[in-house]
């Protein structure tokens, strides 16, 4: 029983002590629960900010605690997030915790609660949760206002490729809401009747001003939207590097990543952190930053460059030894001293990069833009370098740069200086050549020399000295000084035996002399000219080696052959050379170049060896010859073109082509068919001998038409197409016509003319005309008398030459015998010159019927005219028309009185006397016939009618019968 009592007492004490302990310890966890929980929102970041505290901690007591936080959406039972947050808690410390919601907080009501537990190793027995706090509700929707529609999140900034959740909140249940992303409708998930959520995955970058997402109600003009600012992925800096130039400042550089591509200020910041020193600096520039080197001789540096923007943070690291990143400054105080013709000294200084550091300096010498010398020199502070083997009077550029000799990092920049070496005497003799002419007994020597090259001149050539040494009188010297830049001179020498020394001189000295001799013997023996073919590379000339001592050869030519100045060129060649290629940019196609090859004797006398001529490129002939045609026969003709200058053509004329066109289908022997450029076909004669300047075209057809055209040809082709010359061969017999028939015709004609001229004379002499009475016209009158009616003699049958007007008294009728001789009055009707006024040379054969009485009374058979004729009537008779008519009437009256059968005809051949009035001389002395003698038809008149005819002049009315 005592044992039981003792056990019971012990148990109670233990229980009590346990309870006491329990009451002491367990009362603490109960007071460590989170308190004063407050929840706030950050809409822009879609964050819930929680803050709370733990009140019942002992003073200075620190305990590790874990807080379990629950977040529910829409309703508290819908817990969407549970997280344990561990931290060290102090007494009355405000604890904070953030939670970023995927869903915009405006889209739904959120509730938060939490509980805590001690998570400290010191009191492991107290690791149990406190009670939950009450739910803290976050309802943003209630504070949105009264707009009918909202879209969230506003102006959210995300990175390309992110996932974004969007929602709209509608105040109206009636309208259907449609949402669009850049005009493309989105389909979402209805969170509650008024809220719809859209999940956008992997959002793209569309434009710098952001992506438009908007929602519209089906009815009304309600539109709400957001701009989702999508940035490009923020890239990390590239090529991060640091270096120092003076061991005092480090310059760090990098290449920032590509732009975020947003117009909104998505600012980027760059921070440089050095881990050994723990220093940090915010860089002011986007791509570089300076860092002050610590004075405590810190050698190693470990940099972290952090680039950061609103969305992302990027870092790169760099660890290096400071002395390994020395980029020296450019050398300074650089001079080029002691510049002679061949040497110069360069000196410089470098910036020190430490007490014992050595720099490696590099010197480069530039001549004519190229590096000709390169040298490395170790330098502490002062550098010096001797540049040798320089050319006199030459511009050079020397430059120097340096780098850390022990740990090369980078060269410094170059420091450059230009200098020119001093002049020296010309090193080479000028290249001299001559041209010798003999003018009026004098020897005119034209000297040419080529300017010395820069390397040979060693400075500026000031003048050339020409020393003439007369070989006949060696002691006689003559000096000429030709100022530069002359390249020749002309000398007139009394004799041609001279040795000429030419030297070039600059400010320092004289060049070696170039010697050339001029001989009295021109040596221009006739040398056959050979043709040489040029190529694009020039003319390849070769010559026979000369026996004996030859010190060299010279090839001479003119670059402008047509020019009087000719631009003489020459080329010196060694004694063992027997060929060379002459090339020049001045050579032109189609120009004939003549080359002369001289050998130089030991006395320096040139003598002509060979002549060459050729074209660098032959062309077709530029013009055609003027062709003359001669010896044209029925079967051939000869062509000649002797004036044609074949040498002036742009190529060697190899011959001529003669084109002959004819109607013949076949070509003549010696020719062949050819097609011209105008596709016409003709025959072609080929004349292969270029010296032939005549050609006989044979075997032609007489009286045929031919056309010919002659053109020269070179190795390239024929000359230009020209006009054809037309020729027609003569007929085969035409020469006979010309030589025989024509003279015959001429002779016959001559004879005929002579015969004609003599025929009258022969007629008179040999067989004069006997008048045939039966052919007289009077017969017709007589015959008409047989008609009982009056016969009218047609006056037309008579051609009177004069009318004799006789005054006769009316009523008195006298016989012919009784008729006193009266002086008749004549009207001259025919224009017989000189016969009117007096006796003329004419011999008249009148055809009056012979009547002795009448013949006695009327001189020379003039028709007696009745004196009845009135002056007025006479006036009418002056008209040649009226005269025959008037006479006709008169004859009618007269003949009417002649009885038929009484006609007795006497025929007398009358010959008019030269003296018409001299009747006595008629029978006895017949006159010589005159050239102008006239024979007129005689009319036989009956004797009864021999009385003076009574001629009645009719008036005009009667005349018309």
């Amino acid at each position: 029983m005592a044992l039981f009592s003792a056990f019971q007492t012990t148990f109670l004490l233990a229980l009590l002590s346990l309870k006491t302990y329990q009451s002491e310890v367990l009362s603490e966890p109960l007071s460590l629960a989170p308190e004063s929980l407050e929840v706030s929102i950050d809409s822009a970041r879609q964050c819930l900010h929680l803050q709370w505290s733990v009140h019942n901690l002992a003073y200075h007591q620190e305990l590790k605690m874990v807080f379990q936080i629950e977040i529910s959406r829409i309703k508290t039972s819908n817990v969407i997030w549970v997280e344990n947050y561990s931290t060290t808690v102090k007494r009355n410390q405000v604890l904070r915790w953030n939670w970023e919601s995927k869903l915009p907080l405006e889209c739904a009501k959120h509730s938060v609660r939490m509980r805590g537990a001690v998570d400290d190793a010191q009191v492991p027995e107290l690791r149990f949760w406190s009670n939950w706090t009450s739910w803290e509700e976050v309802d943003v929707q209630s504070s949105l206002g009264h707009d009918p529609l909202f879209v969230f999140p506003k102006d959210k900034l995300v990175e390309e490729g992110s996932n974004v959740t969007i929602c709209y909140v509608s105040r109206s249940h009636q309208n259907n809401i449609s949402c669009y992303l850049e005009g493309v409708r989105m389909h979402g998930e209805q969170l509650d009747p008024n809220v719809c959520v859209f999940h956008l995955k992997n959002v793209p970058f569309i434009r710098e001003t952001g992506t438009n997402i908007y929602c519209k109600a089906d009815q009304g003009d309600v539109i709400k939207g957001i701009v989702l600012f999508v940035s490009k992925v923020f890239e990390e800096p590239k090529d991060f590097s640091c270096e120092t130039r003076d061991l005092k400042t480090l310059n760090c550089t990098w290449a920032p990543g590509s732009d975020a591509g947003l117009l909104t200020q998505l600012s980027q910041s760059y921070t440089l952190f050095e881990s050994f020193s723990g220093k940090k600096t915010l860089c002011k520039h986007k791509s570089w930053c300076n860092w002050q080197v610590s004075p405590d001789s810190q050698e190693m540096y470990n940099f972290t460059l952090t680039a950061e923007n609103y969305l992302r943070k990027r870092s790169v690291h760099l660890l290096f030894n400071l002395t390994h990143r020395v980029h020296p400054m450019a050398p300074f105080n650089v001079f080029v001293k002691n510049v002679s013709a061949t040497n110069a000294t360069m000196t410089w200084k470098v910036h020190s990069i430490g007490n014992y550091s050595t720099l490696l300096c590099q010197i480069e010498l530039y001549g004519e833009g190229k590096v000709i010398q390169k040298q490395n020199v170790s330098v502490k502070v002062n550098g010096k370098h001797l540049m040798k083997k320089l050319e006199p009077s030459t511009e050079y550029a020397a430059q120097v740069r340096c780098a850390n000799a022990h740990h090369f990092w980078k060269w410094s920049e170059w420091t450059r200086r230009n200098f020119t070496t001093a002049e020296a005497a010309p090193s080479e003799a000028p290249d001299v050549w001559r041209n010798v002419k003999s003018v009026q007994g004098h020897c005119v020597v034209t000297l040419f020399w080529k300017p010395l090259s820069k390397l040979q001149a060693n400075g500026k050539i000031l003048f050339y000295n020409v020393v003439l040494e007369n070989l006949d009188r060696p002691s006689t010297l003559k000096l000429l000084s030709i100022p530069a830049p002359a390249n020749g001179t002309e000398l007139t020498l009394d004799r041609c035996s001279y040795q000429i020394h030419v030297t070039a001189n600059n400010s320092v000295g004289t060049s070696p002399a170039s010697v050339i001799a001029v001989s009295g013997d021109p040596g221009n023996k006739e040398v056959e000219e050979e043709r040489v073919k040029g190529t694009e590379d020039g003319f390849c000339l070769s010559w026979k080696p000369q026996p004996g001592d030859v010190t060299g050869y010279v090839v001479e030519w003119c670059e402008r052959p047509g020019d009087p100045l000719c631009d003489l060129q020459w080329k010196n060649l060694g004694p063992n050379t027997t060929s060379t290629v002459v090339s020049s940019d001045a050579f032109r196609p189609g120009v004939r170049y003549n080359f002369r090859i001289y050998g130089i004797s030991t006395e320096r006398i040139p003598y002509l060896l060979e002549k060459k001529t050729g074209y660098s490129q032959e062309l077709v002939p530029s013009d055609n010859p003027q062709v003359l045609m001669s010896n044209l026969t029925s079967y051939s003709f000869t062509l000649s073109w002797k004036d044609y200058a074949a040498e002036s053509q742009p190529g060697f004329v190899r011959g001529y082509s003669l084109y002959l066109k004819s109607k013949a289908a076949r070509c003549l022997p010696g020719s062949e068919k050819a097609v011209l450029s105008d596709d016409s076909i003709c025959c072609k004669y080929k004349i292969d001998n270029p010296k032939q300047k005549t050609f006989v075209v044979e075997n032609l057809q007489p009286a045929s038409f031919y056309e010919f055209f002659l053109t020269p040809y070179t190795s390239v082709g024929e000359g230009p197409q020209g006009a054809f010359t037309k020729v027609t061969t003569p007929d085969e017999y035409s020469h006979i016509l010309i030589r025989i028939i024509l003279p015959m015709i001429f002779s016959i004609l001559l004879i005929m003319i002579l015969c004609y001229l003599k025929s009258q004379w022969m007629k008179e002499k040999c067989y004069p005309d006997i008048p045939d009475p039966y052919k007289s016209s009077v017969l017709s009158l007589i015959k008409s008398k047989e008609n009982p009616r009056l016969t009218i003699m047609n006056v037309k049958d008579c051609i009177p030459d004069a009318i004799e007007v006789i005054n006769k008294q009316e009523g008195t009728r006298k016989s012919l015998t009784e008729t006193e001789p009266t002086k008749p009055t004549y009207l001259y009707l025919l224009p017989t010159e000189k016969s009117h006024s007096g006796p003329g040379p004419c011999i008249c054969f009148e055809n009056f019927t012979y009547n002795q009485a009448a013949s006695d009374s009327v001189s020379c058979g003039h028709v007696p005219v009745t004196p009845k004729a009135q002056p007025s009537q006479l006036g009418l008779l002056t008209s040649s028309e009226n005269v025959p008519k008037a006479l006709g009437k008169n004859y009618v009256n007269s003949l009417g009185e002649i009885p038929a059968g009484e006609t007795n005809l006497n025929y007398v051949s009358q010959l008019a006397s030269p003296m018409c009035g001299d009747k006595s001389s008629l029978p006895t002395n017949p006159p010589e016939p005159a050239l102008c003698s006239e024979y007129k038809t005689q009319m036989a008149i009956p004797m009864g009618l021999a009385s003076p005819p009574s001629i009645t002049l009719l008036d005009e009315g009667e005349h018309d019968h």
Binding site: K154, Y180, E208, N212
Partner: protein
């Protein structure tokens, strides 16, 4: 290439307009007809949406079906054409000057959302254009009797207009900007028409009063308010 050419054309045109608007250089044209012609041309030029609205819509991505329909002028922001036509000339110029001042201020706000250089160039050209136009309004007001003190030339520097009510929502801001610009171009179209009516009334009065000629100089004559509304000072008889 085409955009560059267009920019150059616009720039040259604006510079030309600015050059014409001599008040910017301290002096005004005293030729009423010439000044009126300039104002008409400037208003016609400024009404083109290619000056501001079209680029803005393109930059802000508002050129999407279902969205651009909402880029319509909000009533009340700019005076309607009827209102403008009912105003006296002095009142019209006053309203025009004030409205354009607000436009300038608003453009400065819109500028914050347009940071791309080539787009900013267009905006700056438009601002220069408005300043030149305002100066010409001032000159016109000087030619009209009794309105000299009401319109002042536009300072070349940034104005001190009150800030508009800030809209935190970027989408709503750009939509409002689009609507504003739409209204601005419509407003300038109405302004051009009003100026054209001024010119037509000038022709009518010329026809009815052949003795009245354009007289240069600043001759002031007291007229009834009715006549003041009709006649510019340059046309008043001696």
């Amino acid at each position: 290439m085409r955009a560059q050419l267009m920019r150059r054309t616009l720039l040259s045109l604006v510079l030309g307009l600015l050059f014409l608007s001599t008040p910017a250089m301290g002096s005004c044209l005293d030729n009423y007809q010439e000044l009126l012609g300039q104002l008409q041309k400037q208003a016609d030029f400024m009404q083109h949406t290619s000056m501001l609205l079209d680029p803005y819509i393109s930059i802000q991505g508002l050129d999407k079906d279902g969205l651009k329909e909402h880029c319509q002028e909000r009533p009340g922001v700019f005076p309607s054409k009827d209102v403008l036509q009912r105003l006296s000339r002095q009142e019209f110029l006053q309203i025009l000057n004030t409205t354009l001042g607000h436009v300038l201020h608003r453009l400065r706000t819109l500028q914050k959302d347009i940071l791309k250089a080539q787009d900013l160039e267009k905006l700056n050209i438009a601002k220069l254009n408005i300043r030149g136009f305002k100066n010409n309004i001032h000159c016109m007001a000087q030619l009209l009797p009794g309105s000299l003190e009401k319109t002042e030339p536009t300072p070349t520097g940034p104005g001190a207009s009150p800030s508009p009510t800030p809209i935190s929502d970027a989408f709503q801001r750009r939509l409002e900007g689009c609507r504003f610009l739409h209204g601005y171009h419509r407003f300038m179209h109405s302004v051009g028409q009003v100026f054209r009516e001024w010119g037509q009334s000038l022709s009518r009065s010329r026809r009815h009063s052949p003795r009245r000629g354009l007289r240069k100089g600043k001759h002031r004559t007291h007229l009834s308010s009715r006549n003041k509304r009709l006649m510019p000072r340059g046309w008043l008889p001696r």
